[in-house]
């Protein structure tokens, strides 16, 4: 597939932004991850962070490097972008990660509301949630929080009118046409339909995040006994 050339702009005076505006969102997101992986291979010391989002990629400049201005960073990007756009594959093998989810009470406070809003039995909501292979479009909101693309459109649900002040770590939710997993206890407005026993983010692990942007993921329904088993 031919790559479209992203526009280069600036995010204030310490970051550059690549922005893809043409094509379907999943295609643009795949381009973001390919270019991010290719730039990572030639990454200079001053490039503090490469931050992928749905259809854009930020390049944050380390302010400790006095000699690097936005102009020199932009020149480096223009020099390296053509080869990054031409890169056909990421070096990292595409991973498919299975996430066990218990869709039972008390982990699924919004599941029956989702089922009645969608006009289908609870079992069908679970089946439809477990069927697709999702793509981690980006990590954000909190350390290790995956924004997943690929939700069955029949399951799209508006966020809660008033967010919960406490959402437990591992909670799996639906917000609009996205689904995601809360890595740590936080506030949150997504509709909750299950919980995974996996630890999504652990700063002492390398890499600290279980999921990385660009990974593929599938949910696997498990019962409470399996959720509680220490082996997972």
């Amino acid at each position: 597939m031919p790559e479209t050339t992203p526009a280069i702009s600036r995010l204030g005076d310490s970051a550059l932004l690549l922005h893809w505006s043409i094509g379907a969102l999943d295609v643009r997101n795949a381009q973001v991850h390919r270019v991010a992986a290719a730039l990572q291979q030639v990454r200079p010391a001053w490039l503090q962070d490469l931050v992928p989002a749905y259809a854009s990629l930020a390049l944050i400049i380390d302010s400790a490097f006095d000699a690097v201005t936005l102009d020199t960073a932009e020149q480096w990007l223009m020099d390296n972008l053509p080869a990054a756009l031409a890169a056909q594959h990421t070096n990292r093998n595409q991973r498919l990660i299975e996430i066990p989810v218990c869709y039972e009470p008390p982990f699924a406070p919004d599941l029956s509301d989702i089922a009645s809003a969608c006009g289908m039995p609870i079992e069908e909501v679970i089946t439809r949630h477990c069927t697709p292979i999702y793509r981690v479009a980006m990590l954000g909101f909190a350390p290790g929080f995956p924004y997943l693309m690929g939700l069955d459109p029949a399951l799209a649900m508006a966020r809660l009118p008033t967010p919960r002040t406490r959402v437990a770590a591992g909670s799996v939710g639906i917000g609009g046409n996205q689904t995601g997993i809360y890595p740590c206890l936080s506030a949150g407005g997504w509709r909750l339909l299950g919980r995974t026993p996996l630890t999504l983010f652990d700063p002492l692990r390398d890499p600290p995040s279980l999921l990385l942007a660009g990974d593929e993921l599938r949910f696997l329904a498990v019962d409470r006994a399996c959720f509680d088993a220490p082996s997972i």
Binding site: D13, H19, Q48, A53, S56, F141
Partner: protein
């Protein structure tokens, strides 16, 4: 050596220059909101510029220093007392073992910094000691300090101090940190334009009570982005000014998330992030539009002033 927290203050955290290199995982920069003041504090006590210190918001803690040490108080001007003596900011202060430092209200500005010889030595988490309150990372278990906490500091210090001594030399933080109210922040254009006839720079703005390390809400005329269609989230930075649908701009701070879905109408230049960190509820501010060469010149001038301060203090301290 350690520091005992006798009372915690409103929100006191361990901070360093921040957590770099993990934004792709959704990890915020965190670190000192006013990194300039923490840096100068470190230079005053003879630390590496990147050492960790304490960030105080609005109301300070009471601290007991177990061993003799050297400290500095920078950032917002704050009521500070030791042994009944009022302590001035922006200078080195020698404390005897067991000294109690009582920090009261921030008088001007919102955030003060206490730097201590050798730095606060809580464990590195993802390469930084910064406390990320939203992500629950770093500092003391990822949270603000509480009464009874014991903070480790560098063990090597063997300072022959038997009485409180305030060094006469001090650093003037002007113009990099100006606690004047109203203040002004220099901004670069964002990716989103406002509707015709509107401009951030045309009005004075007031800081909303809802402000913290994540962001500063502004009150003023309601603004509207020219393009209001729904959009997917894109990267944001500290200093990015977002415009939610309610028309009230929010300036993102160091604890901001790494991506956001609102229009980005401007970005505060990094030379003015220290001033941004010092805003408190009710403060008045104005924006001044600048171009990239002015932003670059402002940053270079600030770096040069820090270099000169560093050199002068190295000569004065003799290390």
């Amino acid at each position: 050596m350690s520091i005992e927290i006798l009372s915690a203050g409103f929100s006191t955290t361990v901070q360093d220059p921040g957590r770099r290199g993990f934004a792709a995982l959704g990890v915020s920069l965190a670190g000192a909101a006013d990194a300039y003041s923490l840096r100068i504090g470190n230079l005053l006590v003879g630390n590496d510029e990147t050492a960790a210190g304490l960030e105080i918001s609005l109301l300070g803690p009471t601290l007991r220093f177990v061993g003799a040490t050297r400290i500095a108080i920078t950032g917002a001007s704050i009521d500070a007392q030791c042994e009944g003596q009022a302590l001035a900011g922006w200078r080195a202060i020698d404390l005897p073992a067991g000294a109690e430092l009582r920090l009261g209200n921030c008088v001007r500005g919102a955030r003060s910094y206490v730097s201590v010889l050798g730095g606060v030595q809580t464990p590195l988490v993802l390469g930084s000691r910064a406390t990320d309150l939203r992500g629950g990372l770093g500092g003391m278990e990822g949270r603000a300090l509480r009464r009874g906490d014991q903070l480790p500091t560098a063990p090597r210090i063997n300072l022959a101090v038997t009485r409180l001594h305030v060094h006469p030399r001090w650093v003037n933080p002007l113009p990099d940190l100006d606690l004047a109210n109203p203040t002004r922040l220099r901004v670069l254009p964002g990716s989103d334009e406002l509707v015709r006839g509107q401009s951030l720079a045309d009005h004075a703005w007031t800081v909303d009570p809802r402000n913290n390390r994540q962001g500063v809400g502004l009150n003023g005329p309601h603004l509207a982005a020219a393009d209001t269609k729904d959009r997917v989230s894109e990267p944001v930075m500290p200093g990015t000014i977002q415009l939610p649908p309610d028309g009230r701009p929010i300036i993102l701070g160091v604890d901001a998330q790494t991506v956001g879905g609102y229009p980005r109408i401007a970005h505060v230049i990094r030379a003015d992030w220290p001033r941004l960190a010092q805003l408190r509820a009710g403060d008045v501010l104005a924006f001044l539009a600048v171009d990239y060469s002015q932003a670059d010149a402002a940053w270079r001038a600030q770096r040069a002033r820090i270099e000169r301060i560093s050199l002068a203090l190295t000569v004065a301290i003799g290390n």
